[in-house]
Point group: none
């Protein structure tokens, strides 16, 4: 349980999911919640149960499938409708029954929005807030309030905006987050309003959007003005220009303003976590992201190279290791060895300096072609084993494969794959059908090898992700395929890269099967 005096509140799964093109399944949401918990955030807003069936399911599954170490879940929802009792409003009931210890109620604090969007009176809006907060508090939940359009509302009618704040606080809301919903504020103007809000003696939080490119600075300004609860999204996801990037906010507050928000070792894992979340969202990671971008500590060394070597801290604003990132010299190959050795040790290999160096070179070469090993441990381990062994060791050899996908005149869709392999001195020809080309290939390989390696019956392909790496050449682009497989005791991920999506899938499949055999104790021929 984190310190309650200052809240790090993540809204990736709700407000972040408003980003154009971002569509999260329930499984995605559960995975992201685990990553955020690993970072040590205090609260994870999971969505709007009752309004959105997917979010209702998220909260249901979270109760058994999420084992959060740091974070508490918050269910987002609206105050009761005008003219009904909070206890009788089915949307309020969905919040009550979500199982979340915290409910974050969104409420209007802008007079025009009350009239135009809610179509009710200013007084009824206050009653809606008072009743809903009181009701949920009485039912045992902690309540936060998101004061929507607060800053524009304050500009329009400051007395009413502050009245909303007071009403919520008096009814028992423990935090009122002031939302710059349209994102148009600049830090100085925003800080003045936060200061006025803090004078009401309500506990104040801040929720910013990046429409002026100032979401992070606005959040910091609000904290300086007295806010003790910051909202934001992983990687700055969100509608329009995005929400405040929670990673940047946390790193700034913790490393530059002395706040103690997340465990030091979790902060040192932030870069990995930020990238792991992009694998779930399938949003191309922003290489320029502060702190966690791959370019964030990259230098075109030029004239400064020798000075950087003597004292790197003269050329970087923090030690990148504190957020799990690395300084990279774009012209040299200095980077990487330490992390490769570390990773090797993690997998149980003590690597000699020569092997480390060779492995770094192979990794760099492959990464420059689009491979990524961060989410493909099994591919990395196979590469490591090959490097240690000095050659590629195989459980089977591939002679050829062929995939046919056809829509027939009758409208039937047929996917069929044939593989020709050599293993244990035998030549194997096998054909599989599937509901798509990769499924067909997977079945063909398995069918061909299962007689020789019965353990493959246990191995299952459980996830398949595709990322197009270059967005400007159409189908000439490079395709990266990540495959997750599992057996009875665990799961592993492999990666393939090619301009041809089927070849990329095949690479990942071949490694997935190979790694499954390694796990089963088979030594390669």
């Amino acid at each position: 349980m984190p310190d309650d005096r200052f809240h790090v509140y993540d809204t990736t799964l709700r407000d972040g999911a408003q980003q154009e093109g971002l569509n999260l399944t329930v499984v995605d949401k559960l995975a992201i919640a685990r990553h955020l918990d690993g970072l040590g955030v205090g609260f994870i807003e999971g969505g709007w149960p009752g309004a959105n069936p997917k979010d209702t399911e998220f909260f249901r599954r979270a109760q058994t499938e999420l084992d959060l170490k740091h974070a508490q879940l918050a269910a987002f929802g609206a105050t009761r409708r005008a003219g009904v009792k909070a206890a009788d409003d089915p949307l309020v009931a969905a919040l009550r029954e979500s199982g979340a210890p915290v409910v974050t109620l969104v409420a209007k604090s802008h007079d025009r929005h009350v009239e135009l969007a809610l179509r009710t009176t200013l007084q009824e809006n206050l009653a809606m807030i008072r009743d809903t907060v009181s009701h949920l508090r009485a039912e045992g939940q902690r309540v936060f309030l998101d004061a929507e359009h607060f800053f524009d509302g304050y500009a329009s009618n400051p007395a009413y905006a502050l009245e909303v704040l007071r009403t919520a606080a008096e009814a028992g809301a423990s935090v009122i987050a002031l939302c710059d919903t349209n994102g148009g504020m600049l830090p100085d103007e925003l800080a003045e309003v936060v200061h006025a809000a803090v004078q009401t003696s309500a506990r104040v939080g801040i929720h910013c959007h990046d429409d002026t490119g100032c979401a992070v600075a606005n959040t910091l300004a609000a904290v300086k003005a007295g806010a003790t609860h910051v909202q934001g999204c992983a990687n700055g996801y969100g509608e329009r220009s995005g929400n405040a990037n929670l990673f940047t906010v946390v790193a700034n507050l913790q490393l530059k303003r002395g706040f103690d928000l997340v465990p030091r070792e979790a902060l040192a894992d932030m870069t990995r976590i930020a990238h792991a979340i992009t694998e779930v969202t399938n949003v191309t990671p922003n290489s320029h992201a502060p702190y966690v971008g791959v370019s964030a500590f990259a230098h075109k060394a030029g004239l400064h190279a020798s000075a950087i070597k003597v004292d790197p801290n003269l050329y970087q604003h923090i030690d990148p290791a504190r957020v799990g990132n690395d300084m990279r010299m774009l012209v040299s190959d200095m980077a990487g060895r330490a992390s490769v050795e570390l990773k090797g040790r993690e997998l149980g290999y003590e690597l000699s300096p020569e092997i480390s160096r060779e492995l770094v070179n192979r990794v760099k070469d492959m990464e420059s072609k689009g491979y990524t090993f961060e989410a493909a441990d099994a591919s990395f381990e196979l590469l490591l084993r090959d490097t240690v062994a000095g050659e590629r060791r195989r459980h089977f050899e591939v002679e050829s494969w062929r995939v046919i996908v056809e829509r027939t005149r009758g409208g039937e869709l047929v996917s069929e794959a044939t593989v020709k392999l050599h293993a244990k001195g035998e030549r194997i020809v096998a054909t599989g059908e599937g509901n798509g080309p990769v499924n067909a290939l997977d079945r063909a390989v398995r069918l061909g090898l299962e007689r020789l390696y019965p353990e493959l019956a246990e191995v299952e392909l459980t996830d398949f992700k595709v990322r197009i790496l270059e967005g400007t050449h159409g189908t000439d682009a490079i395709t990266r395929v990540l495959i997750t497989s599992s057996d009875a005791t665990g799961e592993w991920a492999t990666v393939g890269v090619d301009e041809n999506i089927i070849e990329a899938s095949w690479q990942a499949l071949e490694q997935a099967v190979t790694y499954g055999l390694v796990r089963a104790g088979h030594v390669a021929d």
Copy 2:
């Protein structure tokens, strides 16, 4: 010639070009300079003549090939080397002979950097500044000074940092730009230092990097503290996390702080200019960029759609037309009638309530199957047209198709597709080869139809995105494919969904071609 009282100074061609992966030719630089001049910036830093042959050539060609309306060119370079006269330093000579009316000299203002990187004394560094500024002034150029690492230098030795400032100003530098070279500052701390610098009575400028996500806010804070010269880069290009985004800075100052920096009609062209520059740099545009990103004014309408219809300004921080952008309504998840009607109007259709209702039902049905229309405007418009017409109208009928992807015994990778179509009373059989299955299908369709529809020669597939929708069923998962196509006048996106990735791709391709024909004015049979 712009007002000299406040400078908008662009450094895209010099500091922006330090961005990882960004490589500009001389022709690129000339093109970007024209775009920046079109926006009305005051100064364009072209590069470092003498140190970089490409930059020397840029300044040479600029004299005859650039006809700047607003901007003046600035040549960037260092102060003279230690122990030589400014007049005798060949690098200083290159600045003098660049033909640029302004020279921006970079100088060390951090004591440790003087010792470690320049390897000279603090006194000699001051002499280098004094001599070089005086010499260039005497030769008739205007001189600005970039005080490198100023903020870290001020932290290390404030007296010396300010002495650098005074020395440059006394020698005749008309602006001293304080550089947060490592980018680690936050607005409040930065403003304090700027305030101290302004007290020296030197004219102060500001140059920020985005390593804390605060480059824009830092720039605004410096202006408030007395800086009257702002540096930044187009689209926030630059090393590591980038430089201050000059477009965001200008829009914030002009639209929210009342500065009169660029002509109003030029500001209203900013979105186009920002995108035109990405065409030159070949860097994928950031769709979330404040003000100019394609998502900057995009709304997942949902509940708010009807309120947005009544008063859009309640939901946007500025009128997007002021920066040449547009509000866009995304058709999404909770699509309601209001947002579908709004979207229809955007596309030029007045929909009757009955048609709207039917369209909403079709959208909802398809979204529940995994389709998404928010990133696939063309698919939505085809659906809308079909709904209005009461039936699916086709330019061609598909009899069957087949794709073969094969890795041969010799290791060769072959992708081949055959399509059988009917169009304009003819039966067409065409086969295409490609570097992958979708590319092969695309070529086959095009090859088959181009004789009947010559406009298809203009249509190009420019982007291809794949998303696996359910992460738990392996290759049984549903695949969503988004395809972006373009012709001479614009681009459009289509979507396909199926458990079979090839079928999903085919759906998106078929719509892409159909929409291309609609654009070309072909009425379906």
